[in-house]
């Protein structure tokens, strides 16, 4: 692609990474997989360090980060959407939040500079996990019939409107929810990575050509980098909130 006489690489060059180890096998590892492994390791080490027994009551370091993260999830996700009985989902929600956050934030970490969630596999896997969890929770707390009835036949709707409402609810509850969860996370990360790459290429090309105007896209690049930190937090938060909302919705029948 060339835009304004700039040679931009095709989109796939920004997201396809060659295999590093175990080429051709099922366990092939490339940059995306490495970032995911690093995100998993960072999450585990953070909570492992925070959870070990110690004498001091004043939290510091990893313990402080983990405790404020847990408090944040409890006060602004679980309490606002599910209520006190949602506390048993705290481990799931906290893990999802920190894993997505750590694999998003690599988009702006120097040298790595690749948000791993801009590949579709892990968002799909996470949203399928969420799909299984909220359906199982719904069946467990309301029974199969009660769960189907409360999710397919919302009360307070005139009888004849069920002809329209039930198919819409069927599609939106069981098909569109995991799809839109995955698409939201993935597309936000792709968009952010494309923007950063575009402005980086623009300022590099202008730097080769003439020094002064390269400052303009570079300032924009700095601004977008800060914006991407916000997006990484916000997408992790939104994924967690929506998970909590879906779980809460299938725990209590609407009335």
């Amino acid at each position: 692609m060339s835009i304004l006489a700039l040679e931009l690489p095709p989109v796939s060059h920004l997201f396809d990474w060659p295999t590093i180890w175990f080429d051709g096998t099922f366990f092939a590892i490339n940059k995306t997989v490495l970032v995911y492994l690093a995100a998993t390791a960072v999450t585990m080490v953070l909570f492992g360090l925070a959870g070990r027994p110690r004498e001091s009551l004043v939290p510091a370091g990893a313990q402080h980060v983990a405790e404020s993260g847990v408090n944040f999830i409890e006060s602004s996700v679980v309490m606002q959407t599910i209520g006190p009985e949602g506390r048993k989902f705290m481990p799931l929600l906290t893990t999802i939040f920190f894993f997505i956050l750590f694999s998003n934030i690599t988009g702006i970490i120097p040298i790595v500079q690749f948000p791993a969630n801009s590949r579709m596999a892990m968002p799909v896997a996470l949203s399928l996990l969420v799909w299984v969890v909220y359906n199982v929770v719904g069946v467990k707390s309301q029974g199969v019939g009660g769960y189907l009835k409360s999710s397919l036949f919302p009360p307070g709707v005139p009888k004849f409107l069920y002809v329209i409402v039930t198919p819409i609810e069927l599609v939106s509850t069981f098909v569109v929810r995991p799809f839109s969860l995955a698409i939201r996370l993935w597309a936000n990360m792709v968009a952010g990575h494309l923007l950063l790459a575009t402005f980086a290429i623009l300022s590099a090309t202008l730097w080769d050509f003439f020094y002064v105007p390269a400052a303009l896209p570079f300032v924009m690049l700095l601004f977008l980098t800060v914006f991407e930190i916000l997006v990484a937090f916000l997408q992790a938060f939104i994924f967690t909130v929506l998970t909590a909302v879906y779980i809460g919705g299938s725990m209590h029948a609407e009335h």
Binding site: V11, Q80, R184, V190, A191, L234, I238, L242
Partner: protein, 85 residues
């Protein structure tokens, strides 16, 4: 115009139309969510200003609403990437 079209190779014409369609498609898909997010955030800000004590709940609900609306714009963005020649 027609003679200009006749001079281009058929593949180029298809590519060009595809690029135009992709750009127009994303632009059109961004209109509705733009209005929607504006309405949601505006109402959320005015209700937070009226009742600052309910700001936490309003903020969570606002992010939820934004997330639902934003999905439409993002699907437009996905179509844009898929349509690029």
């Amino acid at each position: 115009m027609l003679s200009l079209l006749a001079q281009t190779a058929p593949g180029e014409l298809v590519d060009g139309l595809q690029a135009i369609g992709a750009g127009l498609g994303y632009g059109l898909a961004a209109i509705g969510p733009g209005f929607g997010i504006g309405t949601v955030v505006g109402s959320a800000i005015s209700s937070m200003a009226r009742q600052p004590e309910s700001a936490g709940m309003v903020r969570t609900t606002m992010f939820l609403g934004i997330a639902f609306i934003e999905a439409l714009a993002l699907i437009g963005f996905v179509v844009f990437i898929l349509l690029l020649p």
